[in-house]
């Protein structure tokens, strides 16, 4: 922790200088200072506007227009249809509405499973590696590799392992352990959902691990010593010291995991392709499919806006709720 040291040196050991001269130079620089930071921000601002903000506004605008393969060429003058796209997306009697609802449910269940499993694995690993032992550094690095690997190469490898006839998974589960009589399919049908969860957890749990590890390092040893003197066993220390102290870390970690899992496109797309099996048809792929395969951009935008609205509301409620709980603690 060199940071406090350098700060201290700057404050205490720094030259008293001669104050009047410094004040004068600073005053002379004031006009330059006022516009200078804005100039520095211009490139970042332009980039954000061009790639995120303006397209997002255009997306909201597109959601109230009829943008499809006929009007795509002149989409700026596509017919205005008000909330018809939203009505179509949300009408449960229509096939589009039913598919969206099913996809939404799938995504929510997927997200909850991934967040909970990643958090549990990350916590277990971080606590298991909390005390030093030979080989701890190697394990720490090893656990990070799934997170460092490009997602698509990792997922292609899983795809290979999940092949019905030649994959490692069926080899172990069917030939090795005899859990199934017939080799199950893992990339189509109901099992595809299980595959998706497992692959996503494999990919993301290291992030939970390293965040929780960082959180553990900020817990003073004295707290454990006091708990031990009071006769708390390892499990009670975990419940009474570790978990409460991790609350601020968990608060953000869970939100990040939630947003990642909910929005993730690469894992399902690489695992199944653009046409995901119905059981694993999460929203990102579903919207992609209905936009770029059926070319109904207006409907796709409306669904994206609905997803965004859901994410905003869910995140806001979560931040409010977890913030209040943190205050009570």
């Amino acid at each position: 922790m060199s940071l406090p040291a350098t700060q201290r040196r700057g404050r205490v050991g720094g030259p008293p200088d001669d104050p009047p001269r410094r004040a004068r130079t600073r005053r002379r620089r004031i006009p330059a200072k006022r516009w200078f930071p804005y100039v520095l921000l211009v490139p970042a601002l332009l980039a954000e506007l061009a790639v995120h903000v303006i397209p997002m506004l255009v997306g909201v605008w597109m959601s109230v227009q009829q943008v499809n393969q006929f009007t795509l060429r002149n989409w700026t003058r596509a017919p205005f249809i008000g909330l018809d796209n939203f009505a179509l997306a949300a009408r449960l009697s229509s096939p589009a509405g039913q598919q969206l609802l099913r996809s939404f449910t799938t995504t929510v269940v997927f997200t909850v499973l991934v967040v909970v499993l990643c958090w549990l694995l990350g916590l277990a690993a971080a606590v298991a590696l909390q005390k030093p032992f030979p080989g701890r550094g190697v394990l720490r690095t090893l656990f990070l590799v799934p997170f460092a690997l490009p997602v698509f190469t990792a997922v292609i490898t899983w795809r290979f392992m999940l092949q019905r006839d030649t994959g490692l998974v069926n080899r172990v589960l069917v030939d090795g352990l005899g859990l199934f009589d017939d080799k199950p399919f893992w990339l189509v049908g109901p099992n595809s959902f299980v595959s998706l969860v497992v692959v996503m957890v494999w990919r993301v749990w290291p992030y939970a691990f390293l965040t929780i590890t960082a959180g553990l390092q900020s817990i003073p040893d004295e707290l454990y010593e006091v708990a031990e003197m009071d006769g708390a066993g390892p499990w009670q220390q975990l419940r009474r010291v570790t978990l409460p102290m991790l609350r601020p870390v968990n608060r953000v970690l869970l939100l990040v995991l939630f947003l990642w899992s909910f929005n993730d496109f690469t894992v399902p797309y690489t695992l199944f392709g653009a046409a995901a099996p119905p059981d694993a048809d999460v929203l990102s792929v579903h919207i992609y499919q209905s936009s770029f395969v059926t070319w109904n951009f207006g409907l796709g935008s409306a669904m994206s806006v609905l997803v965004l609205a859901f994410l905003l509301v869910a995140s806001a409620i979560y931040m409010l709720f977890s913030g209040r709980r943190a205050e009570h603690a």
Binding site: R22, A125, L142, L149, F152, T153, T211, A214, F262
Partner: protein, 280 residues
């Protein structure tokens, strides 16, 4: 005090299970890449019947992998260099100056991260396609278009991490440079940047990695000529006859630079990632 038996058993179980879970896919990738074709066409075997480097040679011919490689290198280098330059300027402003709109800017930059990519992909696609027709510039399907898109992806993290690094460098240093007659940019380049070099290296690697591994935008905004590895690798897997050993060999080669970069700069990256999570 020594841990009880139960605690030790639990710890060892956790470590063993997670190590196996982590290692198995890595092992599969590695071992399959040196297997002859007949091995990967049959049931999976732990060891290859014969070790061969043929997949590493053949993989370049089955799909235009070299072309994908060149595209990925161009796009990732372009995006990371531009992104880091922009982030340095912004982070310097945010670290050294207090000005109106500072908080608003930080909030905007950070909040763009939470939005589903698909929401701005559709409009971006249409904007790029239409720019093509209106201005004669071809952003759609060009490496340049992809560079512009990707350079914003790493921006929030880069700015965040660099502000932290810049804040840890005493202001007295660049104020002294200013007094000595350096311009504010001169103070940034000569005093602040050299001291923040590990942070700059870390965000460069991070920006490179985001571009190198991005799939959603690459799958839409590229054509056959500009396809990146992220999309190109799928073309092995969707052919009727899948050369899994070549797929694994290619995956390995594509992964190595990124994993190496990540592990080299692990500490700095982890510090930034966790600082973001803890402070936010």
């Amino acid at each position: 005090m020594r841990d009880g038996v139960g605690v030790r058993v639990a710890r060892i179980t956790v470590i063993v299970v997670l190590t196996v879970f982590t290692v198995v896919p890595l092992y599969v990738m590695l071992v399959s890449s040196v297997k002859p074709l007949r091995d990967v066409q049959g049931a999976f075997t732990l060891l290859p019947s014969a070790v061969t480097v043929q997949p590493f040679i053949d993989m370049w011919r089955t799909v235009p992998l070299a072309q994908y490689f060149v595209n990925s290198v161009w796009v990732s280098l372009g995006a990371s260099v531009c992104s880091v330059l922009i982030a340095i300027l912004a982070a310097y402003a945010l670290s050294r100056y207090r000005f109106r709109g500072r908080g608003g800017f930080l909030t905007m930059v950070l909040s763009t991260q939470m939005f589903p990519g698909i929401l701005f992909l559709l409009p971006l696609f249409l904007i790029y396609v239409n720019l093509d027709r209106a201005a004669g510039t071809s952003l759609f399907g060009s490496r340049f278009g992809l560079i512009i898109t990707y350079l914003t992806f790493a921006l929030p993290f880069s700015i965040w991490l660099l502000v932290g690094y810049f804040d840890s460098i005493p202001r007295e240093l660049d104020e002294a440079a200013l007094v000595d007659g350096a311009s504010p940019l001169g103070a940034l380049v000569r005093v602040v940047l050299p001291a923040a070099l590990p942070g700059v290296a870390a965000v460069t690697i991070y920006a490179f990695m985001t571009a190198w591994t991005e799939v959603l935008f690459a799958s839409v905004l590229t054509t056959t000529e500009t396809r990146t590895l992220a999309v190109g690798l799928r073309s092995y897997a969707t052919q009727s006859n899948v050369y899994w050993n070549q797929v694994m060999a290619a995956s390995l080669v594509v992964s190595l630079p990124v994993v190496a970069g990540f592990l080299l700069l692990q500490k700095a990256l982890v510090r930034g990632l966790t600082a973001g999570a803890v402070k936010a």
